[in-house]
């Protein structure tokens, strides 16, 4: 384990600003924000570009962003507070806490635990999100109505075995918080976390951020030009999965700082027990995306444990904004980056390599690239069709080359590439798919070969897809 020398490797706002402006210029990003914190003090902030391409409003340090799924870490804190108070046992079935909770699979209904939901190992086929609020509305009962609709949600795999990113699971956790606290998710978030932690630039409702400097998302249209994403107000039922909170970058790192400090806010207020933070950071499952997501998952946190020091955090993707938050307890620091362009996840490593790694004494890995000329034997066994509730992935072999398509099962608000992605091997069961629309390679892993050697699962974009043909 290496500890990079810290003396002389500084990070200040000027350096961060330069790097951020360079990043957005090279990658055609309208605007971005960055903040870094060490020993409880914000040491650098950067604000580049525009919050909205149509209006030209400039990004500032006060800009309010949509950190997206990083909100799951906030949700996890609220659940762990219930554990601290002895109100929830992580290893009890969640249906014991939420009257009437039902999934399609009877065993899942009876056995899926709170812990499994927190660690994305419940196996629930979980990518059902009410993006616009058309299904479950924006009233105080939005989360409740969503959870009541899960009775037809199947398993992609039995509970407790494999890691598959599950938005539905976090909305169920949000409902758990609501039921036990007897209040809406947003009000618990405000009362139990935002207010005691002094996070005054973090908000739960669009009405609170509209009269502020608020960043809107941007997505490429079919002809490649960037357009303001039409949906900013996302369905309220998605709150616990990351529709809330909205935050400035400074507030985001100050939230991470609570975890750096083992559960204590900057002014000494205890938000969570040190044991709960440790439990959040304990690896619960292996995550196939090693470079992008660290390789392990805790509770509400990705975990990159090797090589050290350990880095924890979470990513976020809304309709048009991309966020990443990381913290390093051993170095007493946290940092976060957000852009208002859709799916710019791969740029996080680029920025880290430029200005964060040396300062933090870490090494942020870039996505492994295929070795030239590598062949995989018996590629035939990968072919077939894999599916989950959100999409179908046909994998085909043609002239010795594998390719896959992504066919969503419902209309999406985001732009899509429906042409086949070529798959190039990284190892004998892992490939890279070239996705032009995000100008990047995303990992595709084939898992659980059956007796004939044919994989039963495909893992892509954090989610499992089960072979159907």
């Amino acid at each position: 384990m290496t500890t990079a020398p810290l003396a002389g490797t500084s990070l200040d706002s000027a350096r961060a600003q330069e790097a951020l402006e360079d990043l957005i210029a090279r990658h055609d990003i309208p605007g971005a924000g960055f903040a870094a914190l060490r020993d409880g003090e914000v040491v650098a902030t950067a604000a580049a570009g525009v919050a909205n391409l149509d209006t030209g409003l400039r990004v500032t340090d006060g800009t309010i962003w949509q950190p997206g799924s990083i909100g799951k870490t906030y949700c996890t804190v609220l659940v762990m507070q219930l554990v601290d108070e002895g109100l929830v046992d992580l290893d009890r079935p969640v249906s014991g806490y939420i009257p009437g909770l039902r999934f399609a699979d009877e065993t899942a209904t009876r056995t899926v635990t709170v812990r499994q939901l927190l660690s994305h190992t419940s196996g629930i086929d979980g990518d059902r999100i009410d993006e616009t609020g058309a299904l479950f509305g924006r009233s105080d009962d939005a989360v409740q109505r969503y959870v009541a609709s899960l009775a037809d949600l199947d398993q992609i795999v039995e509970p407790g075995r494999l890691w598959s990113y599950c938005n539905a699971g976090y909305i169920v956790l949000g409902r758990l918080v609501e039921v036990i606290r007897g209040a809406t998710y947003e009000s618990v978030l405000r009362e139990k976390l935002l207010e005691p932690a002094g996070l005054g630039n973090t908000f739960c409702f669009p009405e609170e951020v509209v009269a502020r400097n608020t960043a809107v998302g941007h997505m490429p249209s079919p002809d490649g030009t960037l357009k303001v994403a039409p949906i900013w107000v996302m369905g309220r039922s998605g709150g616990p999965a990351g529709v809330v909170p909205y935050a400035s970058m400074t507030d985001l790192v100050r939230f991470a700082d609570i975890l750096v400090r083992g559960g204590i806010a900057a002014d000494g207020t205890r938000i969570l027990s040190a044991e709960s933070v440790a439990e959040m950071q304990r690896p619960h499952a292996e995550c196939p995306e090693r470079e992008l997501l660290g390789g392990h998952w805790g509770l509400g946190l990705l975990a990159k444990l090797d090589p050290g020091p350990a880095v924890y955090g979470h990513d976020g993707n809304t309709l048009g904004q991309t966020a990443a938050m990381r913290y390093v307890p051993e170095r007493n620091l946290a940092f976060a980056l957000i852009t208002n362009r859709h799916q710019t996840n791969m740029l996080f490593a680029e920025l880290c390599n430029a200005i964060v790694d040396d300062w933090a004494g870490i090494t942020t890995a870039r996505q492994r690239k295929p070795v030239e000329g590598m062949q995989v034997d018996a590629s035939e066994r990968f072919t077939g069709t894999y599916a989950n509730v959100a999409a179908e992935i046909p994998v085909a072999l043609s002239d010795g080359a594998l390719s896959m398509e992504l066919r969503p099962r419902r209309a999406l608000a985001e732009p899509l590439d429906l042409t086949p992605f070529p798959l190039r091997p990284l190892d004998d069961a892992t490939f890279l798919a070239r996705i032009d629309i995000v100008d990047d390679d995303l990992q595709v892993a084939f898992l659980e070969p059956d007796a004939g050697g044919r994989p039963r699962y495909l893992h892509f974009g954090g989610r499992l897809y089960r072979r159907t043909a």
Binding site: N52, D54, T55, G56, L57, T132, G137, R138, S139, D140, A142, P206, E207, E208, V209, V210, A211, R212, N213, T214, V216, V228, A229, P230, I231, W232, V233, R236
Partner: protein, 466 residues
């Protein structure tokens, strides 16, 4: 009577208007203004200043303002369209369409008609601002709040500004169409009129260029928060729009009821019906008469139909003059914009149309009147205390604890009670003679010789025994 029917040349007056807007905005501290004018086929627009003191962007043609209560005329227009479709009878009791309507006074709940919801004569206290959430059921849930409304007068008797009644009208629209109010307005009015820049929902606003409200606090102009758009209130004040879209809407009301593509939205007879006086406003601040939502006044003999808007920190005016094929709308992003649009509208009507309302000489204050008028009056969340001050009466408006709480919720703080002075004028009215509201008229409601209520700012405050 305006005897000279001038040919209005909007272009020729643009430069002077621009100068006046700049001067008034500067003097009053209004950060941003958008003006739309229409006269006999011509249109003219004027954009001034910035959207927000905190995050300034230039006000331009694409900039969205909250038009507030001008929305009431949209609600009324939709209702007239539904009447023509045979879905609503204006004179039918509201319970025909909303059978579970409850009010504190059951006979009022039984008898109040749809029309009475649209001309401020429903008779209950109308500033019921409790939130009912953001769901499609916001107006349904509003019924529970209406059930607590105090009935001041039997429906149809007096006009006292009533937001809650228009929310209820929105629910009637939802019940007879089976769609949300916003969807109905979009389908039946905004789309046919080509009003592509008019919205109800935050999601449509937040991705575009829009103004935020401002108010002077402790001598400094500041952004007001929240940018409030409670869903229950959409029928009474929820539209966010541009000056150009408001001119499109004005042209519809000045026309014959057809859309730009020639399709008929409303009969000319129904357009006219909306302009027939249905209740007196006594020449007080809101005007002389109310039609079906239109607040109407005569300016130097010229009939003006109006409905301005007032939200948290945004004030706007909307005036149309059918007999002169003329319309003007002034949208501003400050409370102080109310003074600006009043001043400018007066100047515009005088200059463009030759329409001038002569000044009224105040009457001396008799001992009798001073005695009869002095005392305390109460409105739903406020008190008005009246006392003699020489030749004038001094009015002090204060708020009940509930009122203070509500104002704090909506506006963020409770304004300092500032006394204003009024003098009596003919027609049992009074006029404010000092402060920001100078020139504003109110009226006195008597029962026999006794003073029963004062109409202050469009709402009735009733004499209490205390």
């Amino acid at each position: 009577m305006a005897t000279d029917v001038r040919t209005i040349d909007l272009g020729a007056l643009h430069a002077e208007l621009e100068e006046r807007v700049g001067e008034a905005a500067q003097r009053l501290g209004v950060p941003g203004v958008a003006i739309g004018l229409y006269a006999g086929g011509q249109e003219d627009y004027l954009y001034h200043g910035i959207t927000s003191l905190e995050n300034p962007l230039a006000v331009d043609a694409a900039t969205l303002f909250q038009i507030g209560s001008t929305t009431k005329t949209y609600t009324a227009t939709i209702m007239m369209m539904l009447v023509e479709q045979g879905l609503v009878d204006l004179d039918a009791p509201v319970r025909t369409y909303v059978p579970e309507l409850r009010l504190k006074d059951d006979s009022a709940a039984q008898s109040v008609t749809v029309l009475q919801l649209l001309n401020h004569t429903a008779g209950w206290s109308g500033d019921l601002h409790e939130s009912t959430g953001d769901g499609d059921d916001a107006r349904e849930r509003f019924l529970a709040i209406l059930a607590k409304a105090t009935q001041n007068d039997p429906p149809g008797k007096v006009a006292s500004y009533n937001n809650a009644a228009v929310n209820l009208a929105g629910l009637v629209i939802e019940r007879v169409t089976g769609k949300t109010y916003e969807a109905v307005v979009n389908e039946m009015l905004l789309q046919p009129l080509g009003m592509a820049e008019s919205f109800f929902f935050l999601n449509d606003v937040i991705t575009r260029k829009f103004v935020v409200g401002h108010r002077k606090r402790k001598e400094q102009m500041q952004v007001t928060r929240p940018y409030a758009l409670p869903r229950a209130v959409a029928p009474a004040g929820g539209i966010i729009s541009t000056a150009a879209d408001q001119v499109r809407y004005a042209r519809f009301h000045l026309g014959d009821g057809t859309a730009p593509d020639g399709s008929r939205l409303l009969s000319d007879a129904s357009l006219q019906r909306m302009r027939q006086p249905t209740a007196s406003l006594h020449g007080a601040v809101l005007g002389d008469f109310v039609g079906i939502s239109w607040l109407m006044r005569d300016v130097g003999g010229v009939r003006v139909l109006a409905h301005g808007g007032s939200t948290n920190g945004q004030q706007s005016s909307f005036d149309i003059v059918p007999e002169r094929d003329f319309a003007v709308t002034i949208l501003t992003n400050a409370d102080e914009g109310a003074l600006l649009h009043r001043e400018l509208t007066e100047w515009i009507l005088a200059t463009y149309l030759g329409a001038v309302e002569p000044e009224v000489e105040p009457l001396p204050l008799t001992d009798e009147d001073a005695e009869a008028l002095s005392g305390r009056y109460s409105a739903v969340h406020a008190y008005v205390d009246v006392a003699r001050d020489g030749d004038a009466l001094r009015l002090v408006i204060s708020y009940t604890p509930d009122g203070e709480r509500m104002i704090r919720e909506i506006v963020g703080e409770v304004p300092e009670p500032k006394p204003i002075h009024v003098k009596l004028i003919p027609g049992d009215r009074f006029v404010v003679v000092d402060g920001d509201a100078r020139g504003m008229k109110g009226h006195i409601l008597r029962e026999g010789d006794a003073v029963r209520a004062l109409n202050v700012g469009g709402r009735l405050a009733y004499r209490t025994t205390a």
